[in-house]
């Protein structure tokens, strides 16, 4: 039984090593930052250009993440193909996270039409769904820091609403609350990525039997 646990741990460690470079953090943080800045973009550029730039932002973040992966992370980290059980588990986890995201989106849209109390409740539920999505990722991918991210992102809607109602922070407090949470995630990711790039050189050799 002990060896079974140990092999399971080895597999979990191998899988969790996919997240140690910080690229996922940078990507998630940048996507959230894009969301946080969207009200400002709408204000400065107008709705049409603001929304266009907001959507383009997602493509830009995806492109940068892909570039960083191909040129900095994968050459240092190498290639691994996990077994079918793990791949199935990842697929199920991603579906669950996606569904939680959809529920969160539905809740935020529903809350927009209600009164002040309904908005508070809607935002709290929206935050809870985001928190649960991050918790699911943390649990299934064995990445502990995602719990903390979930806590920050999950409380951001309510903090934003409180800032808006009590301190008259504009744009429902979204740029401040989500901006702060996403900035922390991006900085954590950049630090991890920088350390990863410095700690691991790109191997110049190929296999010994070439």
């Amino acid at each position: 039984m002990k060896s079974r646990t140990s092999l399971k741990d080895a597999e979990r460690r191998a899988f969790a090593s996919r997240f140690e470079d910080g690229l996922v953090d940078v990507t998630i943080g940048s996507l959230l930052m894009n969301f946080a800045l969207s009200p400002l973009l709408n204000e400065v550029l107008g709705r049409t250009w603001g929304r266009s730039l907001f959507l383009a932002g997602y493509a830009v973040v995806g492109g940068i993440a892909l570039f960083l992966w191909q040129h900095f992370v994968q050459p240092r980290k190498g290639v691994v193909v996990f077994r079918a059980e793990r791949r199935a588990k990842v697929r199920k986890s991603l579906v669950l996270i996606f569904l939680l995201g959809l529920v969160a989106l539905a809740l935020i849209l529903l809350s927009l039409s209600g009164g002040s109390a309904a908005k508070w409740t809607g935002l709290a539920r929206f935050g809870l769904m985001q928190f649960l999505a991050f918790c699911a990722a943390a649990y299934f991918f064995s990445v502990e820091r995602f719990y903390y991210y979930g806590l920050m992102v999950g409380t951001a809607p309510v903090i934003g609403k409180a800032l808006h109602d009590w301190l008259a922070v504009p744009y429902h407090g979204i740029p401040v609350a989500f901006g702060a949470a996403s900035a922390i995630i991006v900085v954590t990711g950049v630090r991890r990525l920088a350390r990863f790039v410095m700690d691991y050189d790109v191997p110049t050799e190929e296999t010994s039997d070439d």
Binding site: L7, Q70, G78, V79, V81, P203, E206, D209
Partner: protein
């Protein structure tokens, strides 16, 4: 008074330990290859902490024993070798695990 091989193994299960797998570095490599489908040298070096030269030496021994197979391919323009356990290697690892469990469980505290 010569024992047969089977009797020797029954009396001394450690005598049947596979020396190819038993070396710590190769045991690490085999463990990681056992729990994933396949991986390249860079990944294995990363997770085991072995230097490139060390890894290559141990890989050669595992390949000689028929425990791993190496698939040459390209990632972009760079050559890369994807390594996986053969069925023989997987069975050898299972046997090794079984013997070690048996030996360690029977040891007094």
């Amino acid at each position: 008074m010569t024992d047969t091989a089977e009797e020797r193994v029954a009396l001394h299960p450690l005598a049947d330990i596979d020396p190819v797998i038993h070396a710590p570095a190769r045991l690490m490599i085999m463990t990681y290859l056992y729990v994933v489908d396949s991986a390249d040298y860079v990944f294995l070096s990363h997770v085991t902490g072995l230097t490139w030269g060390n890894l290559a030496t141990h890989m050669s021994k595992l390949e000689e024993a028929g425990y791993i197979e190496i698939e040459k391919r390209f990632v972009g323009k760079k050559p890369s070798s994807l390594v996986r356990l053969t069925e023989r290697g997987r069975q050898a690892f299972r046997d090794y695990k079984k013997i070690m469990q048996q030996v360690l469980e029977e040891l007094p505290d």
